[in-house]
């Protein structure tokens, strides 16, 4: 931090969408923070997007509504945007730009950190392999999340992704260690009622004291959404790598982030890519997602669960498509299950955690975890085929074993998948239900589990 301030320029050449173009600018830097002062003394924040030929293009986070060319001043602050961080941020609620939203003063900062973060040195990355218990059976049992992983949730408009996000934020914990655990929750462009739900849900469950909330609501300026995930991740990195905590970052809804990016891109008259999103959407998303991980020699970890709603439930849409290239698996919510009233409506056959195999088994969850999970996956997949067949030939045309698989499908959805929003299941309880499902099948149908586990856990009727 410096005592030297920046120069204020008063020649505004143009105001275009969320951008302000300032003339006769010398010595401005890329990404430099800019304070825009309106005629009535109101201050808004922005950052430099481009500099050259004596002009600077400034992106105004709070929007340009009400700004006019005459009387508006732009002060180039001489530093990039920083987030004040300290342990005191835990239990606090901030807006999308990192300003207190809970009526309390600014946190007393231990450090001021550039919100753009430092890319993690690939050589220093440590392979993620420690289990995080979310208390949600289908995630813990079959799409296991590990510390340092980035595992997105692909949802659709109106589905229960926010309920799931809040449940994970309330219940998530690291088992078998005394290390501190924290949740950084960034709500990006959510409705006011949803933001209130997140806040109340964490407050009432007592989980707020180990959480930090960043709330950017739908009526906040869209451009603020570009900053929200970055301030959230800056805090997460500080908690993880400076204070040694295991931090789970939940970002919802990344679709709103991508739309804000599209808005800026259109205002800058850039050549549009697929569906009007900028061609650098992949690179931009990677600057967020790649901020998850573990570092050699550091105690903490940053785990990311970005949530995105797929427009028209289209998984080939650029946002889920490009997200899927960067992240390590995906949790997909299914519209059919949602319509049936199943919560959480996770379509297990389309979901995958690429790092699961390294985070489960003896020493982390239980020795039989991998095998029972594979067996249930296989059985549920078969159950879906049998259901399709029953739709054609009727139940009467099914064999006895087909009927057992149908039964497996029903028990899977009713007892394993379905869970109350305040039900926190331990991994032992989850594995117990998985064995209950497998035990619906005769032993000769169980081909993916070692005999010793069958002897130990198979539940005879």
């Amino acid at each position: 931090m410096t005592t030297e301030g920046g120069v204020q320029y008063s020649k505004i050449a143009e105001i275009k969408g969320p951008l302000v173009i300032v003339d006769d600018v010398e010595n401005a830097a890329f990404d430099e923070l800019v304070e825009i002062q309106t005629t009535d003394g109101e201050r808004r924040l922005g950052k430099v997007l481009e500099v050259g030929n004596g002009k600077a293009i400034v992106q105004v986070f709070e929007g340009t509504t009400g700004l006019s060319i005459s009387g508006t001043n732009a002060k180039f602050v001489g530093k990039v945007m920083e987030m004040p961080v300290s342990k005191e941020v835990l239990g606090r609620v901030f807006d999308g730009l990192g300003r207190p939203k809970d009526g309390l003063p600014d946190p007393i900062a231990d450090q001021f950190i550039d919100i753009n973060g430092e890319p993690m040195n690939p050589e220093q990355r440590e392979y993620p392999k420690d289990f995080i218990q979310t208390g949600v059976s289908v995630i813990d049992g079959m799409i296991t999340l590990v510390r340092g992983q980035k595992l997105p949730i692909f949802s659709g408009s109106g589905m229960s992704h926010n309920l799931l996000a809040a449940q994970i934020a309330r219940q998530a914990s690291v088992v078998g260690t005394q290390d501190d655990f924290a949740v950084v929750f960034a709500a990006i462009g959510v409705q006011y009622s949803e933001a209130e739900y997140f806040r109340r849900s964490l407050e009432e469950s007592g989980a707020l004291k180990r959480s930090v909330l960043f709330l950017n609501t739908a009526d906040d300026p869209a451009i603020e959404r570009i900053i929200t995930p970055r301030v959230a991740l800056t805090v997460a990195e500080y908690l993880a790598f400076e204070l040694g905590m295991h931090v789970l970052v939940i970002l919802t809804d990344m679709t709103n982030y991508a739309e804000a990016l599209r808005e800026i891109s259109a205002a800058r008259e850039e050549v549009p890519g697929r569906k009007g999103y900028p061609g650098y959407l992949y690179t931009d998303l990677s600057t967020i997602y790649e901020r998850a991980g573990k570092l050699n020699g550091r105690k903490g970890s940053v785990t990311q669960v970005p949530i995105l709603s797929m427009p028209s439930d289209d998984i080939t849409h650029p946002i889920p498509d490009l997200t899927g290239y960067i992240t390590e698996g995906q949790v997909v919510l299914g519209r059919d299950l949602f319509r049936q009233g199943v919560y959480p409506p996770i379509n297990i056959l389309m979901s995958l955690s690429r790092l699961m195999k390294d985070g489960i088994g003896e020493g982390s969850t239980r020795a039989d975890h991998g095998e029972i999970s594979n067996q249930v996956y296989d059985a549920y997949s078969r159950a879906q085929e049998v259901r399709a067949l029953a739709g054609i030939v009727g139940k009467a045309g099914l064999t006895e074993i087909d009927l057992k698989y149908m039964d497996v499908g029903d028990v899977f959805e009713k007892e394993f998948l379905t869970q109350a929003t305040d039900e926190n299941r331990t991994i032992e309880e989850t594995l117990g239900v998985l064995w209950k499902i497998v035990s619906k099948l005769p032993k000769n149908e169980i081909t993916k589990i070692k005999d010793k586990f069958i002897e130990q856990y198979y539940q005879e009727e």
Binding site: E4, V7, Y9, D24, S86, P105, G206, K209
Partner: protein, 199 residues
């Protein structure tokens, strides 16, 4: 008489048979009830364990809620108290700065601020504004900065100067107020550490 005796015999037989049947039924019912009770016991034990475990889970949840919200409430009150104390220290410090002696050291400070401002703006064609207290000092310094002039308007500040390029396109706020504002987070941290926070 003979018919009476055979009737009695028949009645006795029926009574004995019925008694046997009733006793056997009673025995069977007793044994069935015992079996049912025996079979129900493990289930009962399971239900009992489940109720106890659910109750414990619920109690843990409520305990977490109560402890969590009281911790937050306590911390928030501490933060507000700390902020109040920091504000008091701050306003006292600002009072002292506002009433500092305009001596040689202060004149040197103004000279440094002028140099800094012309460097940042990249021109010496400047108009300098200051508060009424500092006008004379600034005026005396301007002779060392050819092309500069003192603005007619006074500004409301603790001390220091605001420098504008003569074409009005650039302004540099080099007042003490602006410097304090920029350093406020660090000063707050410093004050808070005196109260034992953030050490």
């Amino acid at each position: 008489m003979a018919s009476n005796s055979s009737l009695e015999q028949a009645i006795d037989k029926i009574l004995v048979k019925t008694e046997k049947e009733i006793l056997s039924d009673l025995e069977k019912t007793g044994s069935d009830s015992k079996n049912i009770l025996d079979n129900a016991l493990p289930k009962l034990q399971q239900e009992y364990d489940k109720i106890i475990s659910d109750g414990k889970k619920e109690a843990d949840k409520i305990e977490k809620q109560i402890v969590g919200s009281s911790d937050i409430e306590l911390r928030n009150k501490q933060l507000l108290l700390l902020e109040e104390a920091v504000d008091k220290v701050f306003s006292k410090a600002l009072d002292q700065i506002a009433n500092v002696d305009r001596n040689d050291d202060y004149s040197n400070l103004i000279k440094t601020l002028l140099k800094e401002s012309t460097n940042v703006l990249g021109t010496s064609e400047i108009t300098v504004n200051t508060n009424t207290k500092d006008k004379d000092i600034v005026q005396s310094m301007l002779s060392q900065f050819p092309g500069s002039e003192l603005g007619s308007d006074s500004i409301d500040c603790l001390g220091g100067i605001i420098v504008k390029s003569k074409d009005g396109s650039m302004t540099f706020d080099n007042t003490i107020d602006a410097k304090i504002e920029r350093l406020k987070p660090l000063i707050r941290k410093e004050i808070a550490s005196k109260f034992g926070v953030g050490n």
